[in-house]
């Protein structure tokens, strides 16, 4: 038994573990941003806002349209390089947050406010209806076939990355790789020259040799990369993590330090008493929806731009469900819990794929593992990781 376990562990490739953790963190930060919306709405209304994933989807389209109007549409670019600046990214982020905030407000006003005094299950069905409506009505209008993607050129830092080396690769391999690349470049030049001259006799063999040299070089480079333990994080992803952190800090500030935040906490604690104490409950609920949706919008913009996801009207379904699970995992209604749950979900998902190296076929279960973790946590801590498990009042 122990022997088997050791064998399993030995089969793992720990050199990519840090990279996988970062992959998980990136995915997790998107989940966390969506989960915040779920958890805040649940906190004040006790309503699972199933349409939240669709707000996320609309946010990604808002970012897409902004990028198009900034001149990064496929027609405008036509395969050419166009310089960009960070202002474009900020603009996209802001537009997508504002659009999502407005949509969240509209949904709340039209679909949930009239249902406020009704049984919760009725609101839940309305939420499902809204979610379906946005998906399919969106399917009629939004460009989806082929699924558009935000041009990578909108990101001015797309070629820059941070490389952190935890354990360096063997030095001789690095030298070899460098030499091989230089040789391949030289041969490539010679081949291009020959091709321009049009010398057909030796062209094919030359092409093959050049190709082989190029392959050898890229193979060595990959080996260098895989022999070293380290991380490669593009600037875009780094920026994404920073933005997420800033947004979360902002949220913390709003909730903990402002008057509105105090009112939100009061409504979440006790709806009726808060109303009796003079809190304008309707306004607070609207604000909650706006903030939650705007956070989803920020997540959507980064998901589409930095994580390079092609857009479809059904884009929001999977991240939506995962973020919802994350919110429950952390303790629904609990804001730090949603962040923790989201990041945990992202990391668990990535680690399952990583473990696929020793247990072939495991990666197929990556979506299931999230639910297994959820059920396990709920059975032992029914309130979620950070939630308080209250006994239902009689």
């Amino acid at each position: 038994m122990l022997h088997d376990t050791l064998n399993l562990v030995a089969g793992l490739d720990f050199s990519i573990l840090p990279q996988q953790l970062v992959n998980g963190l990136l995915l997790g930060s998107v989940y966390a941003l969506i989960a915040l919306g779920y958890t805040m709405v649940y906190g004040v209304l006790r309503l699972i806002n199933f349409a939240h994933g669709e707000v996320f989807m609309l946010g990604s389209y808002a970012a897409l349209f902004t990028s198009w109007s900034l001149g990064f549409s496929p027609e405008a670019l036509a395969g050419q390089d166009k310089p960009s600046s960070w202002i474009n990214l900020v603009l996209m982020l802001v537009v997508s947050m504002v659009v999502c905030g407005l949509i969240g407000m509209a949904i709340e006003f039209l679909a949930y406010r009239p249902m406020r005094n009704q049984p919760r299950i009725a609101s839940l069905i309305t939420a499902i209806g809204v979610s379906l409506f946005i998906q399919y009505a969106g399917g009629l209008f939004l460009p989806q076939s082929p699924p558009p993607a935000i041009s990578e050129q909108v990101n001015p830092y797309r070629n820059e990355k941070v490389t952190v080396t935890l354990a360096p690769p063997p030095q001789d391999l690095v030298v070899q790789a460098k030499d091989a690349r230089a040789k391949a470049d030289q041969m490539d030049k010679a081949y291009e020259a020959a091709k321009a001259k049009g010398d057909p006799t030796s062209l094919e063999s030359m092409r093959q040799e050049t190709q082989a040299a190029k392959n050898a070089a890229s193979n060595l480079e990959t080996q260098v990369a895989s022999k070293s333990t380290g991380l490669t994080v593009p600037y875009g992803q780094l920026g994404m993590l920073l933005t997420t952190l800033v947004l979360m800090a902002l949220l913390w500030f709003i909730v903990q330090k402002t008057k509105t935040g105090r009112a939100m906490r009061a409504v979440a604690h006790d709806f009726d008493s808060a109303a009796l104490m003079g809190v304008n409950v309707g306004r607070i609920i609207t604000i909650t929806f706006v903030i939650g949706s705007a956070l989803a919008g920020a997540g959507a913009m980064m998901y589409a731009t930095v994580l390079r996801t092609p857009l479809t009207p059904f884009l929001g379904v999977t991240p939506g469900v995962k973020a919802f699970v994350a919110a429950v995992l952390g303790g629904i209604g609990n804001i730090p819990g949603a962040v923790l749950g989201g990041i945990l979900m992202g990391i668990v998902e990535t680690l399952v794929v990583w473990l696929d190296g020793v247990v072939p076929g495991l990666s197929g279960y990556k979506d299931a593992v999230a639910f297994v973790v959820l059920i396990a946590v709920l059975l032992f801590r029914p309130g979620g990781l950070l939630g308080s498990s209250k006994v239902e009042k009689v």
Partner: protein
Amino acid sequence: MRKTINIASFFALATSIVLGAYGCKDSGASGSTAGTTGTTGSNSTAGGETAGSGGTTGSGRKDPAKDGSDIGEPIKIGLVASQNGDLKPWGDDCVKGANMAVDEINAAGGINGKKVLLLTEDSNSDPVAGKNAASKLVTDGCVGILGEVASGITQQMANVAFDAGLPIVAVGATRTDISDIGSNFFRVCYTDDFQGPVMAKFAYDYLSLRNVAIMTDNKQPYSVGLSDSFRKAFEGYGGKIVDEQKYQSKETQFSSYISNMKSKSPDGVFLSGYFTEVGPIVSQMRAAGLNMPVLGGDGWDSAQLQTSGGQAIVGGFFCNHYNNEEKRPEVQKFLADWKAKYSGVPGTTMGALGYDAAKLLCDAIKRAMDKGGKKSKDISAALEDTSDFAGVSGKVTLKGMKGNPAKRALVVKVTANGTTFEKAYEPEELAK
């Protein structure tokens, strides 16, 4: 009770606005009665060459138990295409191509004086919907079915067609074992048993790759089959498959698979899935710092590769059926006709394959009618008899091929706004 009236009035309001203002008229008489779905009392074997259940004709494949529909007036043929969903670019081209072929035949007076009617059903890029679409066409009285572009959907349609005794001509379904379903199955494209080795040879000889990683779309029978045949052929040439990562259609984040693959240091990656996922995968691969060549099968063929793959996908290679730059007269005529009818050029090869499939089926119907055939099974027999049918995508010979024509394959290179021809492989070339 007041509430009920409330509801009723709102319903009336909604419906009247919807239906009244936009003149959407209800479909009057639904369902045509022409043609019934085979007769249960008929003999269980076709052709009368062999007796007993599970009998086979010369093709060595199982024969359908039913004779299928009668060839009526007009001659109804069905087309199932992915007019919605992920494979929409293919489905749209396929419908256009098939319509063009049928219009051409009707303009020339139809088949032996009878007009051809093409009934189109949407498969929504989904096997279950494709199966239902095929059943619908069977009940509508079609004598033969065209489609689909994807193997998973075709497999279900072929089952339906087999039960009803109708011939089916697949447009772009390359998975090899679909043709085992029965003697009613034919296609106008090559199979993965050819395509896989072509790409393996290309990778090994032309690109001089030795350590290749594979990424397979576990949900698509096409991708699974293509990966297997590539693996077999590539290992046969002496190469090594260092890793295989399995994802599923509709996933969007591949960074964890890519990190896994990176640790195995491959010098090339074979992506056997559809264009919907290939673009994002390659784009995320490049972002993670993997710069090796990428190659794939005909599932890549769409302008969408560039929209979702961006700069990253440029320089990738894939296997295709034909190329718009070819000088053959069939191709030139097809492109001119296409331009006249729809303007532009077909964005994917499915336009040409759809055209070929419709032409081939009509050709077979004509040959069957010339011989006095009256039923779907006669069309199947005529299809089985096809030799050297000159299609846009190359010559199609089905005689003794178990429904799988031996066709040429082209390897093309992805450019910033299209593809360029790189290398051609003939079937004989691979046989040695």
